[in-house]
Symmetry: C2
Subunit: 528 residues, 2 copies
């Protein structure tokens, strides 16, 4: 029996505070999930959400899924209404997906207090709706909402909902920990009891966990260990409140820790790429510390570890990071010391082995700068420039020297907001003054600097500011607040690099990161 990897990033994931997908976002995410090899993609709730109706319409012509089956989500029929007369049910059918997932109440308190109907009518709603969709040729999953709370309150009623759905032809009945309050041992116990009570094997059940006890991944794994073969989760654990089970961690654990073949061959190593791409589309900063896929998931910073890692890297990683498309990283920080500086430099192609003085100078400068709020952990290009400046023969030419700049932002009487920057620089002996406008002060400054340099460095045309991040470091240490800016620059050859700038003034911090970005890029890119 194969495992059913069921993704609900597009529905449950959209409940996360801060997420609001467009239809194009949803299509792009569906393609990524398919590349990751999930078996089912729950696309949304047609009828309830206009965007979702539109998604399913466009999916029919625009999505060409290789691994996944598209699923539309909806509810069982309303109380007292025939299935075929319920517009929400019709909308679900009209989504024309091979499978549907129906949510039903399985906690008698929710039936009576929220749905305001009887336990018996709720069972009829389940039976009728499941049977109707089966008769229409659909594969049917039934999500038992609040199953675990309901089971603990009234096991007989919760079990009767499961039985009703299975008898009516549901392919799987999914046990949902909707409030997310369970622990793994409780999940194991309830599933064991349910198998006894209902008299079907656990592989007829599915599992859907929320993360309110920080155990959603563990609860999902526990259910699979108890025999469940269908598990639901979301990319990066996106979801309401603390979120859903993170599908990446669940899949990583099942495949790499328990040896279960849950994904098609070749898909596991897409994990990091798919995770980060979905984060970009959802416009959520990727979680650096996320298990398996985070940029820090295999990053080592303690000096102690960094030196031992040279001896045997696999003794310090729980899995080989490349298996999920991640890398081991050495972080440049004050705690790391000389060994990490050397290791990190080697990673960047600079061998410091024969240059103990350079290692000392770099280590001291990094320590001083970090004390002032700099951080090179995410800014390899700035770090490389720093190392090269201390390594005889490896220095990078500075493309210009700054005389001064000025940025003006005006909110004019007519309401228009305009930004204008002037830079005065010396380029190859020539004094150049350039002025440009921009969307904001940093953009104006970037434009003016490029304009000033362009005649001497035409290859600048291929550089693009790909990402810009601002972090305010609190002035909790007696200093004023400091601004740290990260700039990611991409060139038209598909390369990108990140630089950092720090200053109490956001414009000056941005300037420093921009200057490093252009300096680094020009050093790598010969004139056309």
């Amino acid at each position: 029996m194969t495992y059913q990897v069921y993704d609900t990033t597009l529905r449950d994931g959209g409940q996360r505070e801060g997420i609001s997908y467009s239809v194009a976002d949803k299509l792009a995410i569906a393609r990524l999930l398919d590349e990751f090899g999930v078996g089912f993609i729950e696309g949304g709730w047609p009828g309830a959400m206009p965007k979702d109706t539109e998604f399913f319409r466009r999916a029919r012509t625009e999505l060409d899924l290789k691994h996944a089956v598209l699923v539309a989500f909806g509810a069982t029929r309303k109380a007292g209404v025939a299935v075929g007369d319920d517009p929400q049910v019709r909308a679900l059918l009209d989504a024309q997906t091979p499978a549907v997932c129906l949510v039903a109440k399985s906690d008698i308190r929710h039936v009576e207090r929220a749905l305001r109907t009887t336990g018996a009518e709720n069972l009829d709603m389940v039976r009728d709706t499941v049977a109707w969709f089966v008769a229409q040729g659909r594969r049917v999953f039934l999500d038992c909402e609040h199953f675990f709370d309901g089971y603990r309150h009234d096991p007989a009623y919760a079990a009767s909902v499961v039985t009703a759905a299975l008898d009516a032809g549901a392919e799987r009945v999914v046990l949902c920990d909707t409030n997310g309050g369970m622990l793994p041992s409780q999940v194991t116990t309830v599933i064991g009891e349910l198998v006894e009570r209902v008299g079907v094997p656990a592989d007829r059940f599915g599992i859907h966990c929320q993360n309110d006890t920080a155990c959603a991944v563990a609860n999902t794994v526990a259910a699979v260990e108890a025999g469940v073969r269908h598990f639901q989760g979301t990319a990066n654990g996106y979801g309401e409140r603390p979120g859903n089970a993170d599908l990446f961690a669940v899949v990583g654990n099942l495949q790499l820790k328990l040896g279960l073949p849950v994904l098609p061959d070749g898909c596991l190593e897409q994990m990091v790429r798919v995770s980060h791409a979905i984060a970009e589309i959802a416009n959520i900063a990727p979680d650096t510390h996320q298990a398996y896929v985070g940029a820090a998931a295999f990053a080592h910073k303690a000096g102690l570890h960094a030196s031992a890692i040279k001896v045997d890297p696999l003794l310090y990683n729980h899995v080989d990071p490349t298996v999920v498309g991640n890398d081991m990283r050495i972080l440049v920080t004050e705690m790391a010391g000389r060994a990490s500086i050397e290791l990190k430099s080697r990673e960047l192609g600079l061998d410091l082995a024969g240059h103990p003085d350079a290692v000392s100078r770099v280590t001291n400068r990094v320590k001083d700068m970090e004390a002032g709020g700099w951080s090179f952990e995410a800014a390899d290009a700035s770090f490389e420039l720093l190392v090269r400046s201390e390594l005889p023969g490896a220095e990078v030419a500075r493309p210009f020297t700054l005389e001064s700049y000025r940025v003006i932002v005006e909110h004019r009487e007519d309401g228009a907001v305009v930004s204008e920057a002037t830079v005065k620089v010396r380029v190859r002996g020539e004094r150049v003054i350039a002025t440009a406008e921009g969307n904001g002060p940093v953009n104006a400054l970037d434009e003016a600097l490029r304009l000033a340099l362009l005649r001497h460095y035409p290859q600048l045309k291929g550089f693009e500011l790909a990402d810009y991040k601002v972090r305010i470091l609190e002035g909790t240490h007696g200093t004023g607040a400091i601004t740290r800016v990260l700039v990611e620059t991409a060139d038209n050859g598909g390369r990108d690099w990140t630089t950092v700038g720090v200053h109490e003034n956001v414009v000056e911090a941005s300037w420093r990161a921009l200057v490093d970005a252009l300096t680094y890029g020009l050093a790598r890119t010969p004139a056309a």
Copy 2:
């Protein structure tokens, strides 16, 4: 037998990418952990880290702990050196703490390849160092590094380290999942086998889990369910790579889900306050989605739920949020609709029940603004101003009207960076022009605006800009990048409020948030 809640935020937590505590930070965090009622606070590694040596020196006079015992961390003696001659061991003794925690290798591969000594010598190092500290009157904990990996590779050797430590007088031997690769079922199995093999009850063991499988909390709970009574974790799960077991989630689960009395009375409800205060000190943005303590941990946004929650809130939360010092929140978003707008307004003291037109206008404006990048989820004050502007009789007076402003940032030839802002406003019929300097463009603008208004609104003197956050929203949807600014303002009466501003220009976005902040504050604060 009581439970030992052992915190290592100050040592292991400091390994997290981006954390760098000062000594004052460490003292402040220790006080907070004590207020939360932990039994042990591991303060650092004296000798190895100069800051930590200083911390223990100052702790002797500056820390007055009510619940917690201070612990110094160190390693067993070096191979081939007498315990008393090892300077690292002496530094540990000199920390003068009632308890020490020694780290020892328990994976024979690490003994041989990283430590480069023999299994027998390692056992002697454990025995000698534990016995020496016991003889000095210290309580001794022994952390078995890489225990689970080591046990799975060579159970006999790993068990022999445990036995050596217990025989030499260690109070607890802590089983560390250093690489974080375990699942709960594996933790349960190994502990069960170890109890058999070593012949002591599980309450002689401790547990220390890293989060590389996203199961650190569940693994810790599993160990406690297997009989372990000493568990280690960090505030908010701070730690290397994906971090350590989050002590807050562990404590919440043990106390609220398993009914185990792990904290002193009255401490559990400090959880949210302590969690957020430690995040502030560590200078890590609190994780909105963290279990139990996150601002979104009990936040509901789906329209479906929001209306049902009115019926019976406890059916929709896994625990009563107030038990851990949290609140239920209703989020204002496009998905929530009218019910949430009404509920949220009531939370703010505005009854919209009799004003369906106002609800429609607010809902429509929120939808439009959210489509443009605004978010009111974290900006209650801006939301309240918006609701009041649509509710007849509840409007807030605008304290001024803007004519224009201009901000200049200059990097001068001498390297000085200066910011200057001029605002032209109309206040109570008077045209006022004011110019001020600042650390950066936004600070200059804030200063100039206050200067312009101060004569008419002297109560502005009591307002302080408490926090300022910038978020760049990617232009992935065909629009340019947009900047969202959150401003938190505090007054001298201990109140604070948050406002939001959105624009493609960071200065204008900040301006909008500042104007809301002053407008809201002035409406609440009568002139002195």
